[in-house]
């Protein structure tokens, strides 16, 4: 955690948007998240792997071969971390203090 209570795992804009999306869904599949974040497939996999490593999301694979799909779901830990991070961002904004 940084001085302002910001979570470095979530702070990257792409990961923040991914966490926001998953916090307001029962889950989302790879194609939907990729379309929303407008990033490449490899970048999305990388970002989501970071979030999964921190225990903030679960990655689920369904099926095998060309028809296989991947979906994501936020965990309880992730939901709490996102809420705290968002609160920290809003607090910084309210203070209007530049962050180093």
């Amino acid at each position: 955690m940084s001085q302002f209570g910001l979570d470095p795992v979530i702070h990257a804009p792409k990961r923040l948007a991914a966490m926001a999306l998953l916090a307001s869904a029962h889950g989302a599949d790879f194609a939907f998240v990729r379309e929303q974040l407008q990033i490449s497939a490899s970048d999305l996999s990388k970002q989501m792997a970071e979030l999964a490593k921190a225990g903030y999301i679960e990655i689920r694979k369904h099926g095998r071969g060309p028809g296989a799909t991947t979906s994501y779901r936020i965990t309880k830990v992730g939901r709490r971390a996102y809420a705290a991070h968002r609160q920290a961002l809003e607090a910084i904004l309210a203070m209007d203090v530049p962050r180093t």
Binding site: A17, A18, A20, L21, S24, F32, L89, T100
Partner: protein
């Protein structure tokens, strides 16, 4: 160094992403209204199945299973399923829908109580079809307004 503008932009992007499960969805299949209408007709008619015997309950359970399967299919087709606080525009439509659905169920129940399933069934179709068509249109308009607001 990160400016207030950067944080505002990040929060705006987060708000847009949070709204996505509600406002970004593929077109509803045209068969939706017909299938829903048929389902309602079948469900109403199950009450005409005479008792004793488990046939009525079996038919109703099968119809509930069909509706769950269709919901599951649509969930996959959509790629996500929203939960939690919806954007303001969608919330208003949902509140109206809940009130409208309660009125529809009450009307069908009254028709059923007064005249039985053979009258309740056409009443269900006549009341449900415009209500569902309104809901689909209102939801689509609300989603478009939310998309315009969030960019």
């Amino acid at each position: 160094m990160e400016s207030a503008r950067d944080i505002e932009e990040a929060l705006h992007q987060a708000d847009r992403a949070a709204a996505a499960p509600y406002i970004d969805y593929p077109p509803i299949p045209r068969s939706y209204l017909v299938v829903t209408g048929l389902w309602a007709v079948c469900f109403c008619l199950t009450f005409a199945i005479p008792r004793p015997g488990p046939l009525r309950e079996v038919a109703q359970l099968m119809l509930i299973a069909v509706s769950l399967a269709l919901t599951r299919w649509y969930h996959r087709h959509r790629g996500t399923w929203p939960r939690g606080r919806a954007p303001e525009e969608i919330r208003r439509v949902k509140v109206t829908f809940v009130i409208g659905a309660t009125v529809v169920v009450c009307l069908v129940a009254v028709a059923f109580g007064l005249a039985g399933p053979w009258v309740a069934t056409p009443v269900a179709v006549v009341v449900m079809a415009p209500a569902l068509a309104w809901y689909e249109r209102a939801y689509a308009n609300a989603a478009a307004r939310a998309r315009a607001r969030l960019g």
